[in-house]
């Protein structure tokens, strides 16, 4: 985090709404999967977005790439508002914003070989001369740790880890400035996950593009990310450096999330989204929050500055911080 914290992408008051309630009690309404999120992705950083399933982190990522149309707000990329562009207008920007999906097998055309999958973006975006394509593909295979023998294989012949390597390679062929990785390792075994995380770390540090890394796994986020944003039911509730989030979490929800890492069976039965529906107005976490006071349920707390680059959306974070400053905050090292 030097002085050169340039913004690559800036989300301003971004909202994404879908028609229909989540659990359908008859009335039609709009469900705001992402609700008024303001966030920067800096040049060359790995920004993690963590949250439970259903917290809106995937929707946020897809809206950033304009795979969903935001219902409100702006997506600024090099001062251009992507939220306002047509499909055609978006096209020149697509190559700069690439994505790796959760399920590697379903993100490939089953009838295309690895070579075809890797060469298609090169051809579509005219990255190199046609005769140079085989060499470029081979270079990319080497970069993601696969031997040239893989070029003629089909997706079903590859393991999940190998496929995810190809998926990363496919995204990187266009030298994007932002790679969005949505739970890119969560379907992989622990041992393969380590390989892919190391690969992501290596390629990111050598090429200095930014990664928006969506995950529900806090250990993975801690390993890979420079900064972490915590989402809860569509809202960004806390944002800070990885050290701040893990060392001095401010939002009660972040603390609860981190608590699950520590005391193993923490948090009894109260954390299922169906069991405890979020507050409709006010802070969405209020219905589950042990520190909630009546005013929490009245209006949504704004994102408040809690130190250098650290922001938290909680009315009570200051008093809670001073009350519990001493014990229990250094939790990471076992």
């Amino acid at each position: 985090m030097s002085a050169a914290t340039q913004h690559l992408v800036r989300l301003e008051n971004l909202s994404v709404a879908f028609p229909g309630g989540r659990h359908g009690d008859g009335e039609t309404r709009h469900f705001r999967a992402v609700d008024d999120v303001t966030l920067d992705v800096r040049v060359g950083e790995v920004l993690g977005i963590v949250g439970e399933s259903g917290s809106g982190k995937t929707t946020l990522a897809k809206a950033l790439l304009r795979l969903y149309r935001p219902s409100d707000g702006r997506i600024l990329f090099n001062d251009v508002n992507l939220a306002g562009l047509s499909e055609r207008g978006l096209r020149p920007y697509r190559r700069h914003l690439q994505m790796v999906f959760q399920d590697p097998l379903s993100s490939f055309n089953p009838r295309q070989t690895v070579f075809e999958a890797l060469s298609l973006p090169l051809r579509l975006h005219r990255i190199c001369l046609p005769e140079d394509i085989p060499r470029e593909v081979e270079k990319m295979l080497a970069r993601v740790g696969l031997s040239p023998a893989f070029r003629d294989r089909f997706p079903h012949e590859l393991s999940g880890g190998q496929l995810q390597r190809v998926a990363i390679g496919r995204a990187l062929t266009l030298s994007p400035s932002l790679l969005v990785a949505d739970e890119a390792v969560s379907k992989l075994d622990v041992s393969v996950r380590a390989q892919i995380l190391n690969l992501l770390k290596d390629v990111q540090s050598t090429s200095a593009f930014s990664i928006l890394f969506i995950t529900h796994d806090l250990y993975v986020a801690r390993y890979l990310c420079h900064r972490i944003g915590v989402m809860y039911f569509g809202r960004l509730v806390e944002l800070g450096s990885t050290d701040e989030i893990f060392g001095a979490p401010r939002h009660p929800y972040t603390k609860a999330l981190l608590g699950t890492l520590d005391e193993h069976m923490a948090g009894a039965a109260d954390a299922d989204p169906v069991a405890a529906p979020p507050s409709a107005v006010g802070c969405r976490y209020a219905s589950r929050c042990p520190h909630a006071i009546p005013s929490c349920a009245e209006a949504q707390p704004p994102l408040d500055t809690a130190g250098d680059g650290h922001a938290v959306a909680c009315y009570r974070w200051r008093e809670l911080a001073s009350a519990s400053e001493s014990p229990n905050l250094h939790h990471t090292k076992a």
């Binding site: 659990h23 259903g54 393991s159 390993y223 009894a268 169906v274």
Partner: protein
């Protein structure tokens, strides 16, 4: 709880499962031995493709018709499962043996409400006209669902993954089976919900005292839950032992790699430990030890012949490094 403590509910000897595909066949479970005692939770660990899921399905005769299962012993509570006809086997599965799958929502009948599923289970145990509403609510409450009346009315698609897994555990609670096989039951859940569900499994087990086979790829999950751990690689068990011992002093290089990988993510390693390489292709397996192509300690003899299980029970290892120790 009757009988000597060491009595096994499930006993498997030399289990072999072979899939017939066009143009050949692959043996994916290659001579597996397991026993699970009453009240014991045995963890079966391995990467995807190691054969751990197929092992569970082979034991319960739940594989597609192109699979051939053979074994020297396949015994559940004194019953030779190999002799059972399909109908008898099905009765056993619905009453005394339960299986919990990775995708909990898929385990429900999508056209029926939650209450229908619990009623089925309760009546299967208690008879066709058994009162079900109270026990169903009690079972849901026992897994931490505060308003069971509401949840009983829901359809499966209205459930979150964590909620569906809770309800499945409630169903297992109501069934009180003697053998439970759970296959990656928390893999698709996020951290918070996973913690809760693991806690529920622990409570379930302390109440039911069943023989419990817990299949997972996550060493740390198994370590929290299981009494013993069996590590599976390419269709074989490469190491088996009491959890504490296996964690404190893993003997097989693969087990050592799995533990190092899992703990380096939970610690603050600057770089994650990985096990290089991939599982072997079982259509053309390497000669000798199946792990030898990935092993950092490989010796000439590892490539020449396949190691047997060395060491004495309860801690055994399929590796020449352990021979004679």
């Amino acid at each position: 709880m009757s009988g000597p403590a060491s009595q096994s509910v499930m006993e498997v000897r030399d289990l072999r499962t072979r899939f017939h595909l066009h143009g050949g066949s692959i043996e994916v479970v290659r001579g597996l031995d397991l026993t699970i005692a009453r009240g014991e939770m045995l963890g079966l660990i391995g990467e995807s493709g190691s054969g751990k899921t197929v092992t569970g399905l082979s034991m319960l005769r739940l594989l597609p018709i192109n699979a051939r299962v053979s074994s020297a012993v396949l015994r559940f509570d004194g019953i030779d499962l190999r002799d059972l006809d399909d109908r008898k086997f099905q009765e056993l599965r619905g009453r005394r043996i339960a299986m919990i799958f990775q995708n909990p929502v898929g385990a429900f009948n999508p056209a029926k409400r939650v209450e229908w599923h619990l009623r089925e289970i309760i009546r299967r145990r208690g008879g066709a006209d058994a009162a079900w509403r109270e026990p169903a609510s009690a079972a849901l409450q026992a897994v931490g669902i505060p308003r069971p009346e509401r949840v009983l009315r829901l359809y499966p698609h209205q459930l979150s993954g964590g909620m569906a897994q809770r309800i499945l555990i409630a169903m297992v609670l109501a069934l009180e089976p003697d053998l439970i096989i759970a296959d990656e039951p928390t893999t698709n859940l996020d951290n918070i919900v996973e913690r809760q569900i693991l806690g529920l499994f622990r409570r379930l087990q302390s109440r039911l005292k069943a023989a419990f086979l817990f299949i997972t790829h996550d060493m740390t999950v198994a370590a929290e839950l299981c009494d013993r751990i069996a590590v599976m690689y390419a269709g074989e068990i490469v190491e088996i032992g009491p959890t504490r011992e296996l964690f404190a002093a893993p003997r097989h290089p693969y087990t050592q790699g799995l533990i190092a990988t899992a703990t380096s993510l939970r610690g603050r390693a600057a770089r994650l430990r990985e096990i290089a390489g991939e599982l072997p292709n079982l259509a053309a397996p390497p000669s000798g030890c199946l792990f030898s192509p990935r092993c950092a300690h490989v010796m000439d003899r590892c490539r020449a012949s396949e190691p047997a299980m060395f060491g004495s029970a309860p801690h055994q290892t399929r590796c020449f490094l352990v021979e004679g120790r």
